[in-house]
Amino acid sequence: MVAPIVKVEPVAIPDSMKQWEGSLEQLRGLVSERAMTGETMLLNMGPHHPSTHGVLRLLLELDGEQIVTCLPDVGYLHTGIEKSIESKSYEKAVPLTDRMDYLAPMSNNMVFALAVEKLTGLDVPERAQVIRVICLELTRINSHLVWLGTHALDMGAMSVFLYCFREREYLLDMFEMLSGQRLMGSYIRPGGVWRDLPAEFMPALERFINYFPGKVDDYEKILTNNPLWIDRTQGIGVIEPDEGIALGVSGPSLRASGVNWDIRKSQPYSGYEKYDFNVPLGEHGDVYDRFYVRILELRESLKIIQQAMKNVPGGAFRSTNRKFVPPPRAELGRSMEAVIHHFKLWTEGYAAPDQEVFVAIESPRGEIGCYLHGTGGNKPRRAHFKTPSFMHISALGKIAEGHMIADLVGIIGSVDIVLGDSDR
């Protein structure tokens, strides 16, 4: 039976909504000419679409199910972190950096701490550097677990999501031991880390290290050779190496295209040169390779943690330069100088020269950079974060061109974006 054709009368737009009405003319030059004549369809995807990992809006021009143009629209999570940092002293700006990339807060702390240390010339003790490496690699595992879970969920493999979040709980418990908070710990501070490793941390880490490799095997059992997974991912969303470099793609997404670039290896920070680890590389630069590179990175991160936890040196966990780092509580009762330093640091903060520095580190998502410009006073003139998600979303339009709309979901997942990271 043929369904009867129902004629729908167009609804008149009420006057109060006229101001929100857009016109096709605004998109001239951004979409192809075919959209102007109505030959292709314009479709709005997001900002609440579950596969967009937050609030990313995509304006798609579709020819049937094929994507002709993909225009990403970000800014829904813009919180003005860079502006807020300008009104805070350097130490007080650290908790704001947590909130950019909320899946890898330690990486953000780290890049900001490194920038402040470089600007002020502050030293970092050996012990703090090793603790930082352990934290950064745990953060990488944490972030990759969320990525793997949500990426697989987008593609229809729900069980992986539950397994990944089960393992993530262990990590969040460990972060809680370190900083008292599960997510936004602000644990890495300029000059070192906030406090020393608590007694229960190392046994917990030991348990995790023994427990986790088997779990990575489980994820691989579910996905790596799964024909459904391979069909959905191989040959999809290919990024050529040259194209990736030109578009500013970084991190695992670039390494999956075969570009051997890892800042931990090439421009080591925090003593990464002392650890023996491999940089996993992909070959084809498609969704599958980006998945597999990150799986291998999970194992490499474990290797780094194993080496680091064996040689945590003794000594101070934070710089003892009292002009920058507040004295321990116990000293306040005995030393007048300590009271003065404490008062000065928590009221005024410390001064940094009227100069600029740029620091880039390897976050789980790619290269995160911090540009910091001092004023000579206690607040920065400008802090700018170059975030990998921002670059990846800007490249999304190029990558998605010519693909099916169902594959777009996989492509968004595979470049690993976090909208908080992108919008800041």
Binding site: S16, A360, Y371, F390, S394
Partner: protein, 178 residues
């Protein structure tokens, strides 16, 4: 594979564009080349394409506002952070732009990655990138007035609601109306 010998970027740029380099600043192992705004694209193209330099990756473009009392050539600074993956080194190009006419040529033609980074600076700082293919706001709403990261833009805050002022505050909120 034969890799050409690395060149000193400062000497190379000075040799090729003697009038372009206004200043060279060294701070904590970072080199900053202050470039004449007119020459930024040709210097960028030179650094990108010359054997021995090959700054193939644009790490970041950031901007800075020296308002109110700047003892610099211009109110705004735009910093291009370049990375050479081959020689694993970084360099910063910087241009100063005047307050009344903050306009600079776009480098999208040299590094496509500059597209959204320049859009962000236009959005946040109000610096115009001439020749940019798609200079729209990226983070702020399209109808936003002003450029929030300028130093003279107010920080802004939400007034805290108490029982004595809740009605007054609610009056000015953009709630949906019947």
């Amino acid at each position: 594979m034969h890799i050409p010998k690395a060149l000193d970027p400062v000497e190379a740029v000075k040799g090729a564009y003697p009038n372009a380099v206004l200043d060279v600043v060294q701070f904590r192992d970072e080199t900053t080349l202050v470039i004449h705004p007119q020459e930024i694209v040709s210097v960028a193209r030179f650094l990108r394409g010359t054997n021995g330099l090959i700054y193939n990756y644009l790490s970041d473009i950031s901007s800075v506002d020296y308002f109110p009392d700047y003892n610099r050539p211009g109110r705004f600074g735009v910093c291009y952070h370049l990375l050479s993956m081959l020689y694993t080194r970084r360099i910063r190009l910087k241009v100063y732009l005047p307050e009344d006419e903050p306009v600079v040529q776009t480098v999208v033609g040299v590094w496509p990655a500059a597209n959204w980074l320049e859009r962000e600076i236009y959005d946040m700082m109000g610096i115009i990138f001439e020749g940019h293919p798609d200079l729209r706001r990226v983070l702020m709403p399209d109808d936003w007035d002003g450029h929030p990261l300028r130093r003279d833009a107010p920080l802004g805050y939400e007034t805290v609601m108490f029982s004595f002022n809740v009605d007054e505050i609610n009056k000015h909120k953009p709630y949906a109306q019947e």
